[in-house]
Each structure stands twice: as structure tokens, then as C-alpha cells.
Symmetry: C2
Subunit: 136 residues, 2 copies
DNA sequence: GTGTTTGCAAAGTGTTTGCAATTTA
DNA sequence: TAAATTGCAAACACTTTGCAAACAC
């Protein structure tokens, strides 16, 4: 017999990443993945959950963001020594960073452009990050 | 009449950047610019000056690195949320970052590759940073 | 029940700042 | 001498950690 189970796909997403679908992780996953591509910091997520009346501590948000990143659900983007972004779009793409506003924006660029990048001897390329900083 | 003046070119470099050639700035400029291209953090520079018996406080090193950057003598490179590098090579070029070792290495890449990067509407590109992260 | 996860507060890291003392020109 | 610069220690912002209580299965 069936029971109505909300967020089944989010639950499954967490389970297949090997993460127990706790209340906190579900709330964060919902905020992250149910509204299209997002660029968030821990602070932003914390503010959002608080605004919705969901109690998730900042420490848990940090931990969860890293767990999601390790699980391949998020990609971390380093733009600035004191602002750590996580991108829900984990496919290969690059960014504009508008420093004044602190806004991060996806960039459209032909991925074959990266063919020009030489591989360093004896090393394997793990990730290529292109950040175009704009004046604002 | 002439007096023997050591480090004249470093002195001039500072003066033309509008910075008084103090003992501390001279020591840092020497360490930075008299040994070819370098990638340094504040900690590295601090360690070096201490090893040489030159007394420069960490606060002054941070301040000086930023003054040099504003003056165009250095370029700041953000690779990692807790490691801020300064590059003595201010010309357009990009980097490999070997995460495990924390080593930053210059990359040779055709600069016309960057022609493919679209300018965002209504904004001006200030700087393009390409960081190729390697496994190690 | 058992192992996992959470929240809190404390600790940590790298950086910046306020201000008196020092140095430069 | 006047203005700029320095060093210290304290403040800072952001992030991580230790551990007891709460939770998932």
C-alpha cells in the first residue's frame, strides 16, 4: 500500500549519494536543487532557511555543503578569499564575478576552447576554473 | 657630489609608485623583485624576512603586499579560500595550481584564446583568471 | 538499539585595524 | 616638524571541530 511521500526524488538523490535524508539535508537540498541553477554561500542558505522558519545551524550548513560537494551534487567555486560559493550546476562551465555586488554569473563559452590548455608534465588536470572579473 | 646609494632601482621603483622607500618596503621589494618571477603568500614572505634576520611584522607585510598590488607592482591570485597569493609577474598569464602541495605555477597559453570570452552586457572585463587545478 | 547526524559554543585560520611610537623627507 | 609608516595586539570574518543530545533506520 502506498503512503503519500513528499520530496521522494530529493530523498532518492540523497540516498544515492550515501547521505541519510535528514530533515536538515532535505531542507537544504530542496532550497538548492528545486529552483534551477543557483550560486550560494553558506550565509545565503542560512538566511533563506531562517526566513522560512526552518532551523538549521550554520555549522550544519557548512558540513552539508561540503558533503554535497564530495558527493558531486555541488561544485565549489573560489572567487574571493572571503566568499566561498557553491554552484548547483556541476557541469563544465565558467563564471563572471561582479566584485562590487559579489554576484556570480554563468558564462557561455565553447568548451573546446579549453583544448588549448597544456597539461602539465606528470600531472592530471582535475578542474579548470575561468573567472572573468568585471568592474561594476 | 655623489654618495653610494644601494638599491637605487628598487628605491626608484617604490618612489614612482608613490611609496616612500622605508626599510621594510625595501626589504620586501628586494625579496620580491630581485629574484625573477615569484608567487608568494604573506606567510612565505614573513618567513623569508625572519630567516634573514630582517624585522618586518606580518601586519606590515599584508599592508605592503596590498599597496604593491594597488600600485601595479603585484597581481593578486585567488586560488583557495585560505591561501592568498601575490604574483610578481603582472602581465597577462594564467596558472596551474597543485592543490596538495599548494604550489602555483605559470601556464603558457596563447592569449588570443581569451578572445572567445564574451563580454557581459553593460560591464567591462577587469581581469581574467584561469586556474587549472591538478591532482597530485 | 546502534550508528549517524545535529547544534552549540569554542577554537582555528588568515587577514585587517586602531593607535601609540617611530621613521622619512 | 609634519606627515607617513610601522608594530603590536586586538578585532574580524569565515570556517571547522568536539562533544553531548537528538535522530534515522
Amino acid at each position: 500500500m502506498n503512503v503519500i511521500r513528499p520530496f521522494t526524488s530529493t530523498v532518492e538523490r540523497l540516498r544515492s549519494a550515501g547521505l541519510r535524508p535528514t530533515r536538515q539535508r532535505l531542507a537544504l537540498a530542496k532550497a538548492l536543487f528545486e529552483n534551477g541553477d543557483r550560486h550560494v554561500t553558506a550565509e545565503i542558505l542560512h538566511g533563506e532557511t531562517q526566513a522560512k522558519g526552518i532551523r538549521v545551524s550554520l555549522a550544519t550548513i557548512y558540513n552539508t555543503l561540503h558533503q554535497f560537494t564530495e558527493a558531486g551534487l555541488l561544485r565549489e567555486i573560489v572567487v574571493d578569499a572571503q566568499r566561498c560559493y557553491f554552484d548547483t550546476n556541476t557541469s563544465e562551465h565558467h563564471h563572471y564575478y561582479h566584485e562590487k555586488s559579489g554576484m556570480l554569473e554563468d558564462m557561455d563559452i565553447a568548451s573546446d576552447m579549453l583544448a588549448a590548455i597544456p597539461t602539465p608534465k606528470g600531472k592530471k588536470i582535475k578542474q579548470v576554473d575561468i573567472i572573468v572579473r568585471t568592474e561594476d
